[in-house]
């Protein structure tokens, strides 16, 4: 089973976690000023990369806290988990 690392609790099985999709999408400061295109883009459009993905997880059946992780979407290899506000870990160039 996929093993996910919670930055607070350590390594746990994926069934303990919920998934939050692409990370680092900031909510627009002034939603009322956005065009339909900009709003649709914020709500629905995603990078969905085949490769390195910065994503959000929540430790639902553990500490219930949100965090970010970097994972390769083909190999499922994790390059690290980090708390909100922390800088993401660097991904080895050969794996990018």
């Amino acid at each position: 089973m996929l093993i996910v690392t919670c930055p607070w609790c350590g390594q746990r099985e994926v069934t303990e976690f919920g998934y939050g999709g692409e990370a680092h999408i900031a909510r627009p400061e002034n939603p009322e000023q956005l065009s339909d295109e900009e709003w649709g883009d914020y709500v629905f459009f995603r990078k969905n990369p085949r490769g390195v993905h910065y994503e959000r997880w929540v430790h639902t059946h553990g500490c219930r806290r949100w965090f970010n992780a970097v994972r390769h979407t083909v190999t499922d290899e994790f390059f690290g988990s980090y708390k909100p506000g922390e800088a993401p870990p660097t991904v080895p160039v050969s794996k990018g």
Binding site: M1, F44, F45, N48, R50, T73, V74
Partner: protein
């Protein structure tokens, strides 16, 4: 000339020690330029090429495939075909497919083994009952057959079902015209038909980028060099975001792994398709006798083309709960596909920000059933100026205008 498959050709070739069979399609080298290029040789792409050549008079067409034809989700799905979706837009699209399924083997001179054996959605809660009631009524208004079943009637269809599960079976929604088809045969039949009409199917040819001049697509970069085209249609399912990125835009899509498994073969036991969204088990029996079981999709983005074991455990648990009789059967094979999921669980058939570049994707966990209809309306959209009226509501723009076609209940879990 293509040989026609018939009882006579079988006899004739049997006498000739089966040495006289023609290849089903050629393996040509790519030409420098085509009128239209279809990227992706799954059922939807091959079907699009077939209808372009057959009905739209566009025969200078190539289908480019990075692996082997039919090796994507077309060859990996659990082959359920139904059209009992909620909204009018979906009803038009999926029921167009059901209509085409009925004549497809004859049309293609290839047995796609379409088998409208009936499909039951089980309801396990008051909410499920309300959902199938609402959807059944909406189907009825759209002229799609739908019947409400009591638990006793479900039992008549599937005598060995355990109605008294942890979440008891409270009813069911039956579509008699729904059923299954042979997935590989659909790809092979369309490939053979398209090839006979002059379409070049080029396998082991990966599209790696687009040549775009002044926002108009001029052709594709491939592992076998540049190939020019007047129009390009991308029909690459789970990999659509990868190609969109090469063309300079993003899609409202995320890719996930979806799994299925089959058991050892047994004598005919279950002659319809039964699916349960509530406890996630869906099951049918192939003509070879295997139980075909669909598992869920992993919750995280993935291109790995395999899925987590926890999902198999969950699905098999639900199957055993509903059908204790299967509890000692062994599973023979398990696999995954990369499915392209939109938030409203409806597909995208659309023009794009790049002129003459079209996408047909977002079929997610449930596009096999739509293969003929999707291919048909996409071909007509590529050949004309405007999108085909049945395809028009499924444009990418709906994610900006808000006119979503929300099939979450009809399609989120069930295929």
């Amino acid at each position: 000339m293509k040989q026609k498959y018939s009882i006579f050709s079988i006899v004739r070739n049997a006498i000739g020690y089966h040495e006289g069979w023609q290849e089903a399609w050629r393996s040509p080298d790519p030409k420098a330029h085509y009128d239209m290029i279809i990227v992706g040789a799954g059922g939807h792409g091959l079907g699009t090429a077939y209808y372009l050549a057959k009905e739209c008079g566009v025969r200078n067409v190539a289908v480019l495939e990075k692996d082997w034809l039919g090796g994507g989700n077309t060859g990996r799905n659990t082959t359920i075909c139904r059209s009992n979706y909620l909204w009018d837009e979906s009803a038009a699209l999926y029921d167009h497919s059901v209509d085409l399924w009925h004549g497809l083997s004859r049309e293609l001179n290839f047995n796609v083994m379409y088998s409208p054996r009936g499909l039951i959605h089980l309801a396990h809660s008051v909410h499920d009952i309300q959902e199938i009631g609402r959807r059944g009524n909406s189907n009825y208004l759209n002229g799609i057959d739908a019947e409400y079943l009591t638990p006793e009637q479900v039992k008549q269809w599937v005598p060995f079902i355990n109605l008294n599960t942890r979440y008891p079976v409270m009813g069911g929604l039956l579509q008699r015209r729904a059923g299954t088809a042979r997935h590989d045969a659909v790809a092979w039949g369309y490939a053979r038909g398209a090839d006979a009409l002059g379409v070049d199917i080029i396998q082991n040819c990966e599209v790696t980028g687009f040549r775009i001049e002044e926002n108009v697509v001029k052709g594709v970069e491939t592992s076998r060099g540049f190939i020019g085209a007047n129009k390009v249609g991308c029909v690459v399912a789970g990999h659509c975001s990868v190609l969109a990125e090469k063309a300079g835009f993003r899609l409202p899509i995320e890719s996930f792994s979806l799994q299925a498994l089959v058991s050892e073969s047994i004598k005919p036991k279950i002659d319809c398709v039964v699916m349960s969204n509530g406890i996630h088990a869906y099951i049918s029996q192939s003509d070879k006798g295997e139980l075909v079981i669909g598992a869920g999709s992993d919750p995280y983005n993935s291109y790995s083309q395999r899925g987590g074991f926890d999902l198999i455990e969950e699905t098999v648990g639900a199957v055993v709960e509903l059908y204790p009789i299967f509890s000692r059967m062994r599973m023979l094979r398990q696999w995954g596909g990369v499915v392209d999921v939109t938030v409203d669980r409806s597909p995208i058939l659309s023009k794009t920000p790049v002129k003459n570049l079209y996408f047909n994707c977002g079929w997610g966990t449930g596009g096999f059933k739509a293969t003929p209809g999707s291919a048909h309306v996409f071909a007509h959209s590529l050949a004309g100026e405007d999108m085909h009226p049945v395809a028009a509501p499924f444009s990418i723009d709906r994610f900006n205008t808000g006119a979503l076609v929300d099939e979450g209940a009809a399609a989120a879990v069930a295929h």
